[in-house]
Symmetry: C2
Subunit: 521 residues, 2 copies
């Protein structure tokens, strides 16, 4: 398939400027056609102006029309067919089943948000009827709805070229909330981004929405992204990526004349806690399953199990023996970008050279941009003494911490920074001991899961893909699941507003019969 490498602004294709650059085939390192040219400052300015202009219209789009728009995006993405899959495979090095699965997830997210929009509960409608007879003062009529915050800037993620990029979770939830979206494409998969961006742009036109509802800008560097983050018309930012990138955006957002929220999903090592009875009963089995989770997608998941905690003993030995037997059979796999590969190699080298850390096992050696899986071990005391051991190494590397006893294990957990997930492996006879760890885990993570691994994030209503800093910039939210729509809404209250001027959802008539609470019930 041929596709345009132009920026998409205001319903048009707009060629960028400056030195042309190309995507790189991850597996071979060779350049992929066509060439891209980065968006200019004027183009970024125009995208913001159009988004601001479209905002009042788009946020009042009837819910059914907004839901149809999300469904149209999903349909248009599927209509791209295999061209999208092959281009995405080339740019990311990820295998076909993964990309096809991720496409299904992306389309599923859009359709889930369409359903959330149709239901209308996200509006948070509240009515406190007037009480003209109340003493000493009459009570006014008060009605509340949540409205969209404004244009949202979304940064495509390198590790989810579909599900967290141009039409990914951030875009879907922002559009569902009623926010125009400006996407800064990740430079590692510009072709994938262009294809998906075209699908959204067509949906905007098909649904008769203002063209400013969506823009896609390309850039090889970071200046345009920073400029967009600082633009006064941008009301919120969605980001998935490195801690360095996320905290840089947080700083820009906090020092603007008008600070704005940043939803950055950043760094997490996702502790796996192996409880004694489970280890004793099936340490080897857990070890095998762990290696499968660790090496999935070359370990390039935010929920990759980068830390394993257990009380030392024969159960942990069985776990390690099984993991050490399984890991050497795992082939090195192509990583997403040269930069990610380099950072992985450096992170692994730092652990290799740390005298308190021993290498337990490794996968097969790779070539070029392939990452070699590796498993390290250390002691609880060493881990607690060196905060560097708690830093994320993005890729298929993990560190087993042998704890002297449950108290030390608990202390290690208490010392951790915020995390996306914690996984507990346990049997019924571990319940009592596990109960004591749960309060710690609740304070540290967004999702606690049992007898599984964090990789594989279900898109649903009860999912939290979030967690305290630095897992995310804002632990009060999630970036996966229907609750993510909350990030892009703010409440507005109407007092004694005549029925004729109230938003339809707040009128006495409530023609769409949307769910509302009355006097808090």
């Amino acid at each position: 398939m041929t596709f345009s490498s132009d920026n998409l602004i205001g319903g048009e294709r707009v060629p960028g400027a400056g030195a042309p650059w190309r995507a790189v085939e991850a597996a071979t390192g060779s350049a992929l056609e066509p060439a891209f040219a980065s968006a200019t400052a004027e183009q970024a300015e125009r995208a913001c102006a159009l988004a601001a202009e479209a905002f009042d219209t788009y946020r009042e789009t009837p819910l059914q029309a907004r839901a149809d728009f999300l469904d149209a995006i999903a349909r248009n993405i599927l209509d791209l067919g295999d061209d999208l899959v092959t281009r995405c495979m080339a740019e990311t090095g990820l295998p076909r089943p993964r990309i096809e699965g991720e496409r299904g997830r992306t389309v599923g997210q859009l359709r889930m948000f369409a359903e959330v929009v149709r239901r209308g509960a996200f509006l948070g409608l509240r009515v406190d009827p007037a009480q003209p007879e109340r003493k000493p003062l009459p009570r006014p009529d008060l009605r509340l709805r949540r409205i969209a915050v404004g244009p949202v800037l979304v940064f495509g993620a390198s590790n989810f070229p579909l599900a967290f990029s141009v039409a990914g979770g951030d875009t879907a939830s922002a559009l569902a909330a009623g926010c125009p979206v400006i996407v800064k494409a990740h430079p590692a998969h510009p072709g994938t981004s262009a294809l998906v961006g075209g699908a959204i742009q067509r949906a905007v036109a098909e649904c008769g929405l203002p063209a400013g509802v969506f823009a896609l800008l390309f850039e090889e560097g970071i200046a345009i992204g920073q400029r967009l983050a600082a633009d006064p018309r941008v009301a919120a930012i969605g980001f998935t990526g490195s801690r360095r990138g996320g905290t840089a955006l947080m700083q820009i957002a906090a020092t603007r004349a008008t600070p704005i929220p940043v939803y950055a999903e950043m760094s997490s090592i996702n502790p796996v806690v192996l409880m004694p009875a489970a280890l004793q009963a099936r340490g080897a089995e857990i070890g095998k399953a762990f290696v499968a989770s660790l090496t999935l997608g070359s370990g390039q998941f935010c929920t990759n199990p980068g830390l394993v905690l257990a009380v030392d003993g024969p159960g942990l030995d069985a776990f390690l023996a099984a993991a050490s037997e399984a890991l050497p059979n795992v082939a090195a796999a192509t990583m997403l970008t040269p930069g990610i590969h380099k950072a992985y190699c450096e992170g692994v080298a730092a652990l290799e050279s740390n005298p308190a850390v021993e290498r337990v096992a490794q996968g097969q050696e790779g070539t070029g941009q392939q990452g070699q899986p590796v498993l390290f071990a250390t002691t609880g005391a060493a881990f607690r003494a060196d905060h560097r051991l708690g830093e994320e190494v993005f890729g298929a590397a993990s560190l087993v911490v042998r704890c002297a006893d449950t108290n030390e294990l608990r202390a290690v957990l208490e010392g951790l920074e915020g995390q996306l997930t914690a996984a507990l492996h346990m049997d019924p006879s571990d319940h009592v001991e596990t109960r004591g760890l749960l309060p710690v885990l609740e304070r540290k993570v967004g999702r606690i899961l049992v007898n599984g691994f964090g990789t594989g994030v279900e898109v649903g209503h009860a999912m939290v893909h979030g967690g305290p800093f630095p897992a995310t910039s804002d632990g009060r939210t999630t970036s996966v699941g229907s609750l993510a729509i909350d990030r892009f809404l703010r409440p507005v209250s109407y007092q004694d507003m005549p029925e004729a001027l109230l938003p339809e959802a707040l009128t006495d008539a409530n023609p769409a019969q949307l769910p509302r609470s009355v006097d808090g019930a």
Copy 2:
């Protein structure tokens, strides 16, 4: 009544250190007994340690017990009787009816949150049941609840010595959410703070809660407050005060090793828009009501009407004539503190000396710490050309902007910063024109009210006392009303957790029959 001037930490009275200082009687400037001594760094440290220690226990307090605690605080405040009222009047210069009304509001807030806690909807419970047969992958069991964020630091407000101070809205909503609270008392009303703090401390003991659930620290300066804001155990901050103070806290919070949310309610001039038909029909009547709202409580409300917008013409002349007739009859009233009085005088002087601004009328001259009400006027063009005219002058000063036409009025609104409220005065024949202004107002303010003034903030479920920056630091929330509890919660998801280890509210049994959504419905 005699009361202790000690800090309240860990269920004990703890004397501060350093130079003693006293509250000042607002009306006379004379010092009030007893002397206070500021909390030390070690005492601040201990309050944080105890709050963190109490957190896991307090946040799992059964809902009924937590609600009873809030009710006990309300009861204990009422039990302080007239001693609280007289001390509060002396420290603030506010008249008895205002203080008694504010006490009723404070007690009402606590009881409303008790009811919110009992209902349990604030937990946001969600269940997505497992689908073991789903293809290609089984769906896990996912259950979500919201938990308290951690210890909350509350700064007492100068202008609401009860409703937004030690047991005010921030404290009530944080305690309701399950957060221990550390209050930094406002130095302008330490005696009021000590009395109310004692009421809370007694409630903690009566309800058998961990003593770290509540602490009250005194300080004449700002160093201890800043230290508390930077303490790693503090998870969120509530503040009502100046833009300077609020943005300083925002900066501390954003540059901590672990950034935290700040809910600062700061600066707002609360535009009042007078529509043509309403002005024509009853410009004089609106003018009289406006003067009453402007001068209420010496204008020391966040929702004080500091800006009036209308299209120039006979209707506006009638409004101004009525206001000019009413204002000279209004006596100057004692302001809260010497600092607030000084800032008010400086703000008024700056407007007086602005060649584009004319003084329309003023109230009676005052003495000492009394503020003289004043009304200014300018043109739409002048207002748009000078951003200083849009800055808050805290007190009974307001600026009327004569707009050439509706387009200019709309442009003035578009140029405003975020506001807490906007008030529309209109008649049915103004509806069409008003409809065009509503989208602008929705983007700018937290509450839009019709044929009234923003002063008088109803405590209810549909109230928003918030708004875009700089009205508040976080326009996604409210600081008044039941929705304020959302500020201190974050979601946690439990995946495949055995029934025996699930939080009770998420078990299949759901013994308290709390409201939950299942699969999003």
